[in-house]
């Protein structure tokens, strides 16, 4: 049973953050969310109830964003190559950490990392990741989708998925260390 009158309050924020993180443009994300709600409202009589209201709205938004990417020809996904891991690990030393890339000890002070500035840096680091990696992160941490669903949606094999996630985490960790924890 759809409840369009409650959509904006219930799903406005999660749909917006999903769109904003993928499009990286606040105005464009707001407009896409608006278009999503209007398209959903128009399609509401055809909703068959085979999935939850939230899932249905997210799937409409997903296609809106894909259209947007197609139009902008912006969808430059990362190729999986070996150069990435050799940036962190030493092939000549059994793939252990390169001396200057070893994780350093962090002062994970609760108050300091609750500051707005920390989240600005974290967001910037997330934006620095290649598109496919940041999209997978968003699907995982915002939409809380399972690995199976994410693999299907992004058409990546299970082993590539783990490699991508690994690389994304390596990249995000290194970025935070460089721009926040080194201060």
């Amino acid at each position: 049973m759809l409840e369009p009158k409650k959509w904006v309050e219930r799903y406005g924020d999660p749909l917006f953050s999903f769109a904003y993180l993928r499009l990286k443009n606040r105005t464009l994300a707001e407009d896409i969310v608006q278009e999503t709600f209007m398209a959903a409202l128009a399609a509401a009589p055809h909703f068959r109830g085979e999935c939850q209201e939230k899932t249905w709205l997210f799937s409409i938004l997903h296609y809106k964003i894909l259209d947007c990417f197609k139009n902008a020809k912006k969808n430059n996904f990362l190729e999986l190559n070996d150069q990435f891991s050799s940036y962190y690990f030493d092939e000549k030393n059994f793939n252990h950490w390169l001396a200057d890339k070893k994780p350093k000890r962090w002062q994970m002070d609760h108050d300091a990392t609750e500051k707005k500035e920390f989240y600005v840096i974290l967001n910037a680091c997330l934006n620095k990741l290649p598109d496919l990696m940041s999209h997978i992160f968003i699907a995982k941490y915002l939409k809380e989708e399972s690995p199976d669903i994410i693999q299907q949606k992004f058409e990546v094999s299970a082993s590539n998925y783990w490699v991508l996630l690994h690389r994304a985490k390596l990249g995000l960790r290194a970025c935070l260390e460089k721009f926040w924890f080194k201060q």
Binding site: P14, H96, R105, M108, L122, I138, Y141, P147
Partner: protein, 86 residues
């Protein structure tokens, strides 16, 4: 001991990959033992593991709770108005 080490030895690259995998799925017994042994011996990977748990918590907070990822009240009102008018 040396003989056993050969069988449970993994690189830091493999250990960090397994740590990322472990957050979402069960490792097989072989992988789990190797990872545990590696983290016991390798301070850098133990540090990595701790930091990734911290980052994941902050990512969830960033993506789900922070104000900058929410629709502005004025935009919400505008959309609501448009939907009411339809």
């Amino acid at each position: 001991m040396m003989m056993y080490r050969k069988y449970i030895y993994i690189s830091c690259e493999k250990a960090t990959l397994l740590w990322c995998k472990k957050a979402e799925t069960d490792l097989n017994v072989n992988e789990a033992i190797r990872l545990r042994f590696h983290l016991f011996c390798c301070k850098s990977c133990a540090q990595f593991a701790k930091q990734i748990v911290f980052i994941e918590g902050k990512l969830i907070d960033l993506l789900q709770n922070r104000a900058e990822f929410k629709l502005s009240p004025s935009k919400k009102a505008e959309i609501q108005q448009m939907m009411n008018d339809e």
